[in-house]
Assembly symmetry: C2
Homo-oligomer: 305 residues x 2
């Protein structure tokens, strides 16, 4: 397993899937092994407990247990950036404190996502309350802009307020809205602000624009290919390497995201349990699964074992 | 306090506000007193822990404590319909079991609201998993259609599936989307299905259409007026009585909902703590508060003490 004393600040991170056991609880053993495998593939870090991880479908207790499992099984905290934001402040604080306890490189934080519309001032107060509540100088927050799920966008105005008040804490963002102009704008507007693309489509583009890298769902299956882009982004072969990532992503995005990725992992590991999801998410139907695998094969995709 | 042996099935319910103490925790004593006051005003029931209650801003532990406080303070369970749905299945089950424990008349259930879009099949599985997990024949579920917050609508197709599978459990809905045609459609399409309007605007209309009543935020301050509409909806003075409710609502809706209602309660009770909200929600600014009170006075509104 790749070891690194320096906390991950840029590169290629996987938005790690969560395997679910027959009892519908997270399968911690399968999960920790997969985390190791992702690092071995060349992923610079593990964005666990995010959207792709079905984090919001797990209770706070279950999520705390998952973070403990990482530490207990020797996954170094400095490559881990867990999602910790919930709708309720005490939950967000508890999860963020646990992230600090395991030495996480940072945390990925949604805005509280039930109430909408809300003001930037209200969101600033929400993030402030978490920062004050966690009360840990080591805390590094990556904001999480994914309005298609949260319904609550992270505006430039909010980033500016937070950067001004907490320049050493609010250090970056994951932008999963899929609009590259927004990512470029943040890189230009906010110095020393680490902008990660939430989509593989922009991995090479964002590196060329001065961004930090990509935190993506597809890295669950093509982390090795993304790592190649990151290693070679200034080289002549960069576009060719990016195309390989793009090919996979353009197929995956035709299917429900978590279901498609879990299907590929189930097939490539021979562990059918990987298909399980908590409702309301559902596994692919057999026909869809066959179509997905056929299309991936047609672009020459094979997941490294 | 009004006592009633029959669990509330129709009428006028308040979507009860949650007072917050200086420590930012729910002020249980102020809250229980307010619950009693609302029943004394003529509300038929208490929809606690819903959107207006800021329920999703409180942890599951805090919410369990609130339900316990109702029982410990003698609020009869048969007038209480708490919101119990969270994004995570174990949380929803725990809260719903607690609701059963205190003898709640039913529970109000959002769909899991982080993932979108999701299929009716996925949502059906989510509700099924709760019903199976709670495993209590007394359970009565009112679905909660509020797509402007949840991002996940409750379709006729989903209602049909649920009614077919659980005719004695899925007994009604609160429709807060503000489209009366949708409410009428549900009343016509689903027999013995209790349709509550989530807006005061349609209280009289929905009663005339054969609906069950209204579960609304404004009933925190005009429950007495709404109770008059319910008592007289077949009488000649019904429209005049409805107009009084409508007057209040049409003013309140110009302001952020929870903030406006908390302002009115703070002013009328002399308890400034009522203004507190958990971020990202914010109290009204002083100017807004003055304007709100002025406008309410202009329509002759005074809250009964």
């Amino acid at each position: 397993m790749t070891m690194n004393n320096q906390a991950v600040e840029r590169g290629v991170l996987a938005a790690v899937l969560t395997p679910i056991g027959e009892n519908m609880a997270p399968d911690l053993s399968l999960w920790v092994n997969r985390c190791r495998w992702l690092l071995d593939q060349g992923c610079d870090g593990l964005a666990v407990l995010g959207t792709t991880s079905e984090a919001n479908s797990f209770s706070v207790k279950e999520r705390l247990g998952m973070l403990d499992a990482l530490a207990e099984n020797g996954i170094p905290g400095n490559v881990v950036i867990p999602g910790t934001e919930c709708c309720a402040l005490p939950d967000t604080i508890a999860l963020t404190q646990k992230a600090m306890e395991i030495g996480a490189a940072g945390v990925l934080m949604l805005p509280p996502f039930y109430y909408k519309p809300v003001t930037d001032k209200g969101l600033f107060e929400a993030y402030s309350a978490v920062i004050d509540g966690v009360a840990d100088d080591r805390l590094l927050i990556y904001l999480y802009h994914i309005p298609q799920n949260s319904g609550v966008p992270i505006t430039f105005g909010l980033i500016e307020k937070l950067r001004k008040a907490y320049p050493n804490t609010v250090v970056g963002i994951k932008d999963s809205a899929g609009d590259f102009a927004n990512m470029e704008g943040m890189i230009k507007n906010f110095s020393d602000f680490r902008v990660f693309s939430g989509s593989d489509a922009f991995l090479l583009d964002i590196l060329r624009a001065g961004g930090a890298g990509a935190i993506t769902a597809c890295n669950n299956i093509c982390g090795a290919q993304s790592a190649q882009v990151f290693a070679n982004w200034q080289n002549d072969n960069a576009d060719t390497l990016q195309q390989a990532v793009h090919d996979v992503r353009s197929i995956i995005q035709k299917f429900p995201l978590v279901a498609a990725l879990k299907e590929v992992v189930a097939q490539s590991t021979g562990e059918p349990g990987w298909r399980r999801q908590r409702p309301p998410l559902e596994p692919l139907k057999e026909k869809e699964a066959a179509l997905l695998m056929e299309q991936l094969a047609s672009v020459g995709f094979t997941m490294r074992k």
